[in-house]
């Protein structure tokens, strides 16, 4: 039986944990579109899920080549949303990690950070422009309301970028001693 859950995640690490906790209970994600997850019933813990931010959107030839490579290693490409890709692998095949060394984790963390930093910068620009226009006489309430509405998004994106910055720092510190 199919189950549909509507839920919004900002942080892909939390989203991945959530997918894996549902999979442990026997609900395995089979599709995703904006804030809408489709699940099928499976044996508890049948799949392990991993989410990756690709360099290019999933339909891009470079991404398709990458996804085909991942699939050839026994994993399944479940869904994608813009540059986000959802993979899963049967748990009986052993642990499933996409990245197993510090360098590749660093590349991925930096990529995620760049995405959120760009989103934060865009929101900041729109927010600033609306504040500027709004306060210029004659005062435009519509622009001020718009600016205020954008503010929480700016804060969220800035927070997510800062969160990945901490990840990058952690990884760099670890690399000074080990490679794994």
């Amino acid at each position: 039986m199919k189950h549909i859950i509507r839920k919004a995640f900002w942080n892909y690490e939390k989203e991945e944990k959530w997918l894996n906790s549902l999979s442990a209970k026997g609900l395995a994600m089979t599709d995703y579109s904006w804030c809408r997850y489709v699940f099928e019933e499976t044996l508890p813990g049948e799949y392990i899920y991993r989410i990756e931010l690709l360099e290019k959107p999933a339909p891009h030839p470079e991404s398709r080549q990458y996804i085909a490579f991942i699939e050839d290693t026994g994993a399944e490409f479940v869904a994608s949303y813009m540059r986000w890709a959802y993979f899963r692998k049967k748990a009986e095949d052993g642990p499933f990690e996409l990245f197993t060394d510090i360098d590749s984790r660093l590349i991925h963390s930096r990529r995620v950070r760049a995405l959120w930093a760009a989103c934060a910068a865009a929101e900041f620009a729109i927010m600033g422009a609306n504040f500027a226009v709004g306060f210029m006489p004659p005062v435009s309430e519509l622009n001020l309301i718009l600016a205020a509405a954008i503010c929480p998004f700016f804060i969220m994106f800035a927070y997510l970028a800062a969160h990945q910055s901490r990840r990058v720092k952690e990884l760099k510190r670890r690399r000074k001693i080990t490679e794994g």
């Binding site: 642990p95 060394d101 360098d103 490679e179």
Partner: protein, 107 residues
């Protein structure tokens, strides 16, 4: 080797060893796991990046018309073998010194 070679990562070292015979991605992951007695596992994303970098360096090459069908097979090149030999020399030095000092031969 015409250039100084830094220490290879475990993943790269074992990937090069695995490619003494032609293998596709999944074959490399399995070989590396069994070579290391299950200690080293390579994530597919990590391996993809490593293969790309190693081809660019000329240490491995994709094999034309390999037995893998759709899946691309890779094999080590002469330069790749030279890199492995240089790495073995480096590792031997590390090992010898470690054993000597930790074993108490040198105070």
């Amino acid at each position: 080797m015409d250039e100084m070679q830094g220490a290879l990562t475990e993943g790269v070292y074992y990937t090069l060893l695995a490619l003494y015979r032609p293998l596709h991605g999944y074959g490399i992951m399995q070989t590396v796991r069994s070579l290391s007695g299950g200690r080293v596992t390579l994530g597919a994303g990590t391996l993809y990046g490593a293969l790309f970098a190693l081809v660019e360096k000329g240490w491995i090459r994709p094999r034309e018309g390999g037995a893998g069908g759709r899946r691309k097979e890779y094999e080590i090149t002469q330069r790749g073998r030279a890199a492995v030999k240089a790495e073995i020399k480096r590792l031997e030095e590390l090992l010898e010194n470690g054993k000597k000092i930790d074993g108490g031969e040198i105070q």
